[in-house]
Symmetry: C2
Subunit: 409 residues, 2 copies
């Protein structure tokens, strides 16, 4: 392996998570520890910031600040949704050449990109282009997404914290809704357009407490209103307060999203089809069918930014995968995505590794059918065993005057 | 003062909070410590449970269980919305006589009711009826409501925890929405039909961090769409990501709720006026006016049950007010509501006292006009100074396998 000496850039891209800054802290620590990376720069708003030379020197960030950064939600460097062009021809080539020019200007030999599918695509292209033009550098992708839908890794950094927030909140909502004796349904709408990993985590309280959502619907199984009404009728036989967890992305057999509002035919004053949301659509349908009290709760943004209830396991792993990305790059790897591999056995144990991005980028890892019961209205014990270790542990959050203290540049 | 020896009943009523069980624990501790209350019973589902003889003996609850109860959200005994009849005549009298019969059967001489306005009404009526018929007993109300809108007390048990949840979540949402460079508005809809106390707490991050909601609208000031659009335009001059906190109960000058959806004229397939919610109504209006990305987040149920981020100050005070209710009752008080009085001075300090319910029940304490800025689009420093001490401190939450452990009967 040839020793490559040069500076590094780290960037964050895609939707925020509660753990993406832990990975950033890990990358910065990895660079600080390395004897071949003199300086590490942070690019504001991902690759957009590289192109605009909006770079800040992170080399001297203190241990105290890095520790605070770890429990700060969202992307401290800012994020972007920019995708690099599909090929290196004509006008498109210009963008890649611009990036390399900036890399040369700052003597950048290492590029670490923390993000989801689109970001891995950026890593793949940059790694191919630098190879093509013979500019020696190491380009590494570090995954993050609350959706847990990236292929090639046991799970994604950020998922465990989102799952912990959802399971904790679900348990609290279950206590809340159980206080009355009146017949009522509470719909809890959870993020996940194509994969039901987040919604599956809502069933975690069933492992440890006396409460659990009655019904859990994921986008992996087509949703059927008649079966849903049957499921609700059965649930009412057990208790008056029924709680349902649904993915925002559940679809009917014909592929229509339940949240498209076609069921209720809601339109606004301008005649636009009104996108009521999945929970709201179900709320309207249940009200019509059962005439009982119905409420829908959309967990919304806190799912991806509630760092005050982050998973210690997730933050620890997220920092470790960032640190390892630097180590792997300095050892000669490039064009790879960092991954977690889970060891077989009763005790949860993962190790960090790397994998070729080519087979990973743009693939969606869905909840396997055997993780969902036959009826399609709940998850299986096998599914919960997979998720359970990812939410374990509570990080030390620093509070000041009753509010969590955050890091900011 | 005459020593009154007899058993006690405690009940919970109205909407759940994160602190109502702390008050329950306080009442139970108070009874356990007392030498005139041999037994304390818990009524399931408030006064409904009294009438149905659904009483459980709480006298031997261990310190460990009481401590767990303190950090368990919602009403562990169950709640109800039942109001007692307005007078003691004819059929109505029968209900009061039934209650007294049950009281006699269980030798009940103390009744503690934890709840909001309706519950104080129950306390008032029971205390009057027992006095009228000459049945010697002590009836005490202990307030709880996240809304902080009860008269006669500096603040209500439960408000501090809700405010801490809202401020913490707002700070996280502010970090989340700041990551992109694209023009966007995020509306955060907060509970509060008539009083804006909860929404005001969303501005707390402005005291301690670099982020704060740009605009804050309470129901105490009529909402005006034209001024709102002007406010947004000004906010966009500062940064591309504008965050707005609104009470669900904001109304136009003519008294119409913004959330009634009349503004956008949304109707469903059955021609019903579609209650889109306040955030959704503003979302639609902003999209039409500015054409930018808009998202609305309804904080919803977690505001009243997110005990994992409860305020230690609130839980401590909520337990103390319950304990004091027992002490005051055994000292001879009856027909009273327990209250907090804040001492003047720089350091926050409250003491527990009691007040006549007659002047308190059914009055709504709104946010005073001087707590809101002249334009009506934010709260004042004076308002934040009032709220700030109520969210201070973090209780010790017991986690098992990554989930908060709750108490249940």
């Amino acid at each position: 392996m040839q020793k490559l000496i040069g500076n590094a850039i780290v960037g964050q891209s895609g939707g925020p998570t509660a753990a993406i800054n832990a990975t950033l802290a890990g990358v910065i620590r990895g660079a600080q520890e390395s004897n071949v990376i003199p300086k590490i720069y942070g690019a504001r708003n991902g690759i957009e910031g590289v192109l605009a030379r909006r770079l800040i020197d992170l080399s001297a960030l203190t241990a105290e600040n890095l520790s605070l950064l770890e429990t700060t939600p969202a992307a401290a460097l800012g994020s972007c949704r920019k995708k690099l062009p599909a090929d290196f021809e004509g006008e498109n080539r210009k963008i890649f050449e611009d990036i390399i020019e900036i890399f040369k200007e700052y003597d950048i030999r290492y590029f670490f990109y923390i993000g989801g599918n689109d970001s891995m695509d950026t890593v793949l292209k940059l790694s191919r282009f630098t190879k093509e033009i013979g500019y020696e550098m190491r380009v590494m992708g570090v995954p993050k997404t609350i959706d847990n839908d990236l292929a090639g890794t046991d799970h994604t950094p950020g998922y465990g914290s989102a799952a912990k927030y959802i399971a904790t909140t679900m348990q609290e909502i279950l206590r809340d809704t159980a206080v009355y004796t009146v017949k009522a349904v509470t719909i809890v709408e959870i993020m996940g357009r194509d994969a039901g990993w987040l919604t599956a985590s809502a069933a975690l309280p069933s492992l440890y407490s006396d409460v659990a959502p009655d019904l859990v619907y994921l986008p992996e199984v087509p949703f059927n209103y008649d079966e849903f009404f049957e499921d609700l009728t059965k649930a009412f036989e057990k208790h008056p307060n029924v709680v349902v967890a649904v993915s925002e992305g559940i679809r009917l057999a014909d592929g229509t999203y339940v949240g498209e509002g076609t069921q209720s035919g809601v339109t606004d004053a301008f005649g636009h089809k009104y996108l009521s949301g999945t929970g709201k659509a179900l709320e309207i349908a249940i009200k019509e069918k059962f005439g009982c009290k119905v409420r829908s709760v959309e967990l919304n943004l806190p799912q991806r930014c509630a760092s005050h209830i982050a998973s210690k396991t997730d933050l620890y792993e997220s920092a470790a995968i960032g640190r390892h990305a630097v180590r792997y790059a300095t050892f000669g790897e490039s064009g790879k995505m960092m991954i977690f591999t889970r060891l077989e056995g009763d005790r949860y144990k993962v190790y960090v590794d790397s994998a070729d991005i080519a087979g990973i980028a743009n693939a969606v890892r869905k909840v396997p059918r055997e993780y969902i019961n036959e009826r399609g209205n709940n998850v299986t014990a096998q599914c919960l065993s997979y998720i359970a270790p990812l939410i374990v542990g509570e990080p030390e959050i620093i509070f000041e005057n009753g509010l969590p203290k955050h890091f900011h540049f």
